[in-house]
Symmetry: C2
Subunit: 205 residues, 2 copies
């Protein structure tokens, strides 16, 4: 890749960790620019005009172009690599789990981690308190589905690690910080061990 | 494609329409199996065991394999076609908007359509009533972002229609059914006209 790769990120974010983990597994160097979400640093006029009008990180900068959405950034880094299956059905099935992650897993498992660990339970708004049990139930459903899927296989798709594993790993492995438990999910715990043993693995800071 | 393609779907669902629209634009025949979400037909033991353990449609059946997640099914049908850009950055940017659709647009714009049109405002639960203003605000933010993006271009990515347009079209075009208005969003209205003029376009039933 000729263009310089700069990741606009917050080290606390699992969505950012996915991208750094993809890069680490593939040996791709990334320059990091750090922001603190909790201080509103991704909502400044400069950030909105220059990096992402949606006011969110991560954003992968590729030369002078900007790519928001964590899973799209993982895809960009991994195209043509061993992290994306060659078989067309398996490739689509990998994307299926990446969409599952963003629709059914992250909004519940990651949001509760953010609220419990970074906002703090006592500081939650009335709205957030109302949402906690809904997100708790939906997050548990997502984790249970993941566990059932992994009971019959080592990796989410095919016979080796792919982006489906990489993008589901960060918030699943940190789910206890949001009050979830993996006690009943042995297949998930074994899968986490497999990912953490992969050559090039890096932990979230 | 050698395998028979069967779409497990509900004709009321925009997520199902995306897949039928992708197939129509590319001239790919799909066999349809219809379910009524509102009657729980995707939560039966047979459906959970045989089609999708997540209890959701659409699911694209490819021979004997099953692919849940609407945007993954669109990808599978469109691989190698004119609906996916050749340029790697543009391809990732298309996926960026597909993830945006599932994370920031569909959970708000589509859910309010379902609640207002199919459940009925008077039949909403207390929980759903609480969520309406949150989803209203988030849906309006997503539509505003879409409109700003389209003010400078004809299509979401590159110079021609891609899956980013196809997957954002169904719920955006039907957003009034969820109580949203496109009155202030001329760029979105023009983009809808362009999509509906595309060769092969089919409307939602």
């Amino acid at each position: 890749m000729a263009d310089a790769l700069i990741l606009h990120e917050d080290p606390c974010s699992g969505n950012c960790h996915k991208i750094k983990l993809t890069a680490a597994l593939l040996g791709i160097p990334l320059e990091l620019r750090q922001y603190d979400i909790s201080k509103g640093e991704t909502r400044t006029p400069e950030f909105l005009a220059g990096v992402n009008p949606h006011g969110r990180i991560p954003v992968l900068q590729v030369g002078t172009r900007f790519l928001p959405e964590s899973n799209a950034a993982c895809w960009f880094l991994a195209e043509g690599s061993r992290l994306i299956p060659n078989d067309p059905f398996a490739r689509a099935d990998m994307l299926r789990w990446m969409f599952f992650e963003q629709y059914s897993h992250e909004p519940n498992v990651a949001t509760l981690r953010f609220w419990m660990k970074f906002v703090g339970e006592d500081a939650l708004t009335e709205q957030q308190r109302f949402l906690v049990p809904l997100k708790r139930a939906a997050g548990e459903e997502a984790l249970a589905l993941l566990d059932r899927h992994l009971q019959a296989r080592s990796w989410m798709v095919g016979e080796t690690i792919s982006l489906a594993d990489v993008v589901l790993y960060p918030y699943t492995s940190k789910c206890a910080e949001g009050g979830f438990s993996l006690d009943g999910f042995a297949a998930i715990r074994d899968w986490i061990d497999r990912i953490e043993s992969a050559h090039g693995f890096i932990a979230m800071e």
